[in-house]
Symmetry: C2
Subunit: 331 residues, 2 copies
DNA sequence: TTGTAAGCGTTATCAC
DNA sequence: GTGATAACGCTTACAA
């Protein structure tokens, strides 16, 4: 089995409490002793036993992340970022891909210091079904939950985009995105578009709203093909995601349409762009780094026992770049 | 803080050791007492403390999964399956997205019962850099590791496909896949193709090997477009992944080529197909369910302390369906 | 500056 | 059948 502080104590010829202090870098231990002990610990390949430590400290320096759908690529970048941030504060993140209730139960048994839940179909889940003594933070749509929640204002993001395009003179603005009911996060974006266009639903803008059945590149490609073959007078497109936008750009280049000369594009996006597309994209959204930072702070705060705001809705930002030009600019 | 067995003991008016036995459903406790205790535990929302239990039992009923690249969608289905299988045996899986070394260190501190590592750029990693007392199982390419490894024979899979197509008379067989050096798993597939075609490298089959720079749908789409516009005499394609195949099918339908009349397709694939494509695909590969089952068994086995085979390479299977027809069948 | 001892929540081994 | 009690590996007063 594993090496314990008692083993180290024997080797070093000191008591095991001294070892404990030395390893925790306590000022109560003389430098030379400390160094000697550290060295022996290293040699023996000592790994502190979390179980024992968290038993006495009632703290495990661990954050449990509930991530029911490993399949989804979107939040994975966010998780990675959060993980890095927490690591700096010497916290470890552990993920569970189980159903929310059982994941929370597991993390309670493990006495993690806080739980971060990536909400998805939270609709099914009511707070009453959750048993926890560990503080919980949600990321995603705030619905029937009383737990603190951090979310991105997707609706406002799309509105920002529409308004900007209108300001620079565009009249025929289209939206390409996922309108299916299954994903409330996507739906928010569509609602933002409707609101900005002063309509109630997609049917009032038959030619301008192109629903996709997913968020992949080819969904965007085909939506754009449909849109642009039928409607030659569209001058601007708002895209629901980065991948959709990549598809849209593919379509425009095949149709020999030039961005932004023939068409302005603003893409919803949280992720920093790595690909080098033909144009630098204009985007709206909250950058992952900011989301991660907020979540990180909130997490550390609730661990300290501080109450945080019930609900933090992050404001999106508009970043205008080459893919966008005023209407008529090239005439 | 959490409810402990002592709290339950007080409420039930018994000693806490009786509570412990009752909760573990020991035959040493009378039925009525047991029921009473269970009920109180339920009411109080008791959650057993893993730290305390694993401290005395030296077992946490937990498997640590090292998954450095949350970004990749491919193995996520596999992880979900493994998770389900282990749950049946009342094991919990916890994932870490940290670097392999530190993830392993973390899991050692948590005293998990076994560690499953999803190997990727294992190249960098030598066994000597790993400190562990917990048994480790690798999934992925076996390279310089002495730990037991489970892997899929991708090379053989593609060979099977080539041989089958040759048997049914195809001469001009093309391969669409990712040849970049970064992903050794993909490279294996290409090597399988080369070997089956009796060549050493791609350059010997200039028109038949179409490298993609990824495994997404649109990569397949564009590769197929390139391939089929230049080479009208190709009669069969082997695709390196399911998504690539979807793209290929999109391309063929745009080019008014009919599968399998004008073109036979066999797709590498581990994942059970959910989409309903125009044709039912012929596939080669090891189904995820089988991979998951093997990993599950191996894991349980090494937990018991049984040595398992150093290396288990799973044999792919060929499933021929509508997307494949003998050469000349429709003439 | 170092050692001793109590206690964290649980299981397991005894006695009763 | 049930109840004390030791032990798991560690941290932390407190004693030396």
């Amino acid at each position: 089995m594993g090496v314990t502080i008692k083993d180290i104590a024997k080797h070093a010829g000191v008591s095991y409490s001294t070892v404990s202090k030395a390893l925790r870098d306590s000022p109560l231990v003389k430098k030379p002793t400390k160094i000697k002990i550290m060295k022996i610990a290293e040699e023996l390949g000592y790994q502190p036993n979390v179980a024992a430590r968290s038993l006495v400290q009632k703290k495990s320096y661990t954050i449990g992340v509930v991530w029911p759908s490993v399949e989804r690529i979107a939040p994975s970048i966010l998780i990675t970022k959060i993980n890095d941030l927490l690591e700096e504060k010497s916290y470890t993140t552990l993920l569970s891909i189980n159903k929310v209730e059982s994941a929370i139960a597991t993390f309670n048994r493990f006495q993690v210091d806080a739980i971060l839940v990536f909400g998805e179909n939270k609709s099914v889940l009511s707070d009453s079904s959750i048993q926890t003594t560990v503080p919980i933070l949600y990321y995603g749509l705030k619905e029937n939950s009383t737990y603190p929640t951090i979310d991105v204002n997707r609706r406002k993001a799309i509105k920002l985009a529409v308004n900007y395009l209108q300001e620079i003179g565009h009249k025929k603005i289209a939206f390409i995105g996922d309108l299916s009911d299954v994903d409330p996060l996507q739906k928010e974006k569509a609602i933002g578009f409707f609101e900005a266009m002063n309509v109630k639903q997609a049917s009032e803008l038959p030619d301008l709203v192109i629903p996709t059945n997913g968020l992949e590149v080819h969904d965007g490609y085909h939506a754009a093909k449909t849109l642009l073959s039928n409607n030659t007078d569209i001058t601007a497109i708002i895209s629901g995601s980065y991948d959709l936008t990549r598809g849209i750009l593919r379509a425009t280049s095949e149709l020999a349409l030039y961005v932004p000369k023939d068409l302005s594009i603003i893409s919803y996006d949280n992720i920093p762009q790595s690909d080098n597309l033909e144009v630098t994209l204009s985007t709206v959204g909250v950058p992952v780094t900011r989301i991660a930072k907020q979540i990180n702070e909130a997490l550390l705060s609730i661990i300290e026992g501080n109450d945080i705001q019930d609900s933090i809705i992050l404001d999106p930002e508009l970043n205008i770049a080459n893919s966008c030009a005023p209407f008529g600019w090239y005439d």
